[in-house]
Symmetry: C2
Subunit: 365 residues, 2 copies
């Protein structure tokens, strides 16, 4: 009896059934505290009996709040879903949405041509309360658009210009630094890296962390040991083949998926991991643990990132844009089997990172 009215019930009818005015029903729905107990009970009974649910379009038109947020992933889908990263991010976002009774809309584009229409659809119709955008590209036409239209937005990953944009990111520089330091500490001499795309901030930051670690240890940076990938398996494979020409004994791959590709290339060259070449990844998505051999990597809290993005967006929605929020989560070194772990407990304290998954620093810029 709680539902299935042939025709949809309106506020008006509920009001009539309860013998009150429309405004009162609206109030019990949106702010029960403002209605006297008797009236509230009366209305609530009718709502329970009829299974009344407000019409979102009408509510949204009148209140300019829809409870709908958008997730915009400005990359072509084939690329997007080649990696478990995005599904897990989506899972996190969706979880937080469920927690807050938000509805999630998804804007993926399948070809570059979709982009313009998609953005119009997402941003122009005024339906979305706000958006979460993944910072995939260094050149992002979306940022000025979002600012001009004054649409609350939170980036996942550091956007190219963060002066007016809130974001949630992991500390990529430090993660890469830790990864590279780990390799150096284990005694490897020729530590190479397969970077992410140089048109993404994540790619740039992780490369910077690699170089920082090298320099701090007084190693010189050899450009031959730096090859650019695009986070995909194939690019990891190709990059590794190129790297092999220069005989690295350890490699920091800027994503797990590229690490898998690299391992394949290493094996095809008749070499072994980690005996001949050690390798460390970045991400620690589920396949890393299951891979054979299990991958040593830098864990980033992707799901958590997604959830926090929603929280920050909600904050923006309530408090207005004000100073943009920047949340940086820490990463964690996860030692498994691809770096040859024997030497790892050197003198002078454990090199093992503290798991600090829950913590994060909150810095405003």
């Amino acid at each position: 009896m709680a539902n299935s009215p042939g025709k949809k019930l309106t506020l008006e009818q509920v009001a009539r059934l309860a013998g009150v005015s429309r405004a009162t029903v609206s109030r019990v729905v949106n702010n029960p505290a403002s209605v006297s107990p008797e009236y509230r009970a009366r209305v609530e009974k009718v709502i329970a009996d009829t299974g009344y649910q407000p019409n979102l379009a009408a509510r949204s038109l009148a209140s300019r709040r829809s409870g709908i947020i958008g997730l915009i992933i400005p990359s072509v889908t084939e690329f997007v879903f080649a990696d478990p990263y995005y599904p897990i991010l989506i899972e996190g976002i969706s979880r937080a949405c469920n927690l807050h009774d938000l509805t999630l809309t998804l804007f993926l584009f399948n070809s570059q041509d979709d982009q313009e229409r998609l953005y119009r659809r997402a941003l122009g119709t005024g339906l979305l309360d706000g958006v979460i955008v993944t910072a995939d590209k260094l050149v992002d036409p979306l940022i000025p658009e979002l600012i001009a239209r004054q649409i609350p937005a939170v980036y996942v990953g550091r956007p190219p210009d963060s002066s007016q944009t809130s974001y949630v990111d992991v500390d990529n520089v430090s993660g890469a630094y830790v990864a590279t330091s780990h390799l150096i500490r284990l005694g490897y001499e020729r530590v190479a890296t397969i970077t992410g795309p140089m048109d993404s901030t994540a790619g740039i930051d992780r490369r910077a962390g690699y170089i920082k670690a090298l320099q701090e240890r007084g190693r010189k940076v050899d450009e031959n040991l730096i090859v650019e990938g695009d986070f995909s398996l194939d690019s990891g494979y190709a990059a590794m083949r190129q790297l092999l020409l220069h005989r690295p004994d350890a490699v920091f791959a800027a994503s797990d998926t590229m690490a898998f590709g690299a391992i394949r290339a290493i094996r095809e060259a008749g070499l072994r991991v980690p005996d001949d070449v050690a390798i460390i990844g970045f991400d620690d998505l589920p396949p890393a643990m299951r891979f054979d051999p299990p991958l040593t990597t830098i864990r980033q809290p992707v799901r958590r990132n997604g959830m926090l993005a929603v929280e920050v967006l909600l904050e923006l929605l309530e408090m207005g844009p004000h100073p943009p929020r920047h949340l940086i989560l820490t990463t964690e070194l996860v030692i498994r089997s691809t770096c040859g772990g024997i030497l790892e407990s050197g003198p002078g304290g454990s090199p093992r990172q503290q798991p600090v998954e829950g913590s994060f620093s909150d810095q405003r810029s």
Copy 2:
């Protein structure tokens, strides 16, 4: 100049700027043919100059059409994204949405508790023009709900009761039949199967295809050679370990992911694929090709399925529910390296399936 009006433009204002009535602007937006060329040009110019875009909430309230559809995946997300199946399905759906200028909302639930609230949110607010639902579970409280509320819906995968429900599916029985027949034809004697969950139609149908193939060849069905999995890697691994007790020489796994788990179990037992145990999967998602050794499997057009689901939904939206539509796509045997392919060209014609990816049968029930 095409956008960034500080305050959002309304139809009203566009009408004023163009010196026409609101109704006229509305008509050029929705049905340009019904407006005389001069007026149309005048209005279109203003729209182009101002970058006007109609407010979705208002439009949806007045016309009862939002251009938004929902994708409901009635499984817990951790499970959902453990497999590349869903991301690829989403990609297909999203592609078709872009093609038709539809907006996609995503309803995932992260715990069983979400379910009720999620369904209310998805179905009760009247915002969605229709929904696509994945037929994951045999017991689906959604179907009666959808019928009662008269919400246009298309299932991906055969729903438990299809008498009133449209769906798009692949021919699971025939796919499993082909897979099993392939194994038999190659000369394997003890052909086992790792089934999908028995509370899903896909699991049931693929099991049925396996049994049908066995029976048609006069093989007797040995219950010891049938173990139930849940499409996950771990379940494939566990199922295979159990199967190994009964010395199968070939296995049909009802999903690629389970096949990967099974292969791991086989190797851990000191056996080789395909020399000691042949294995064939189902899905042919990207990892199948990249796996070492590349997996022989049954290809199902997942992306295409997603796109067609949208097309069918659109049809429903335009034509009304009428007789439910049932679209069954065919599968295709993809021979790679896990079945020992040498014997495959037996006498009496090639056992290789015709690739028929593009075709599908359209049967109404």
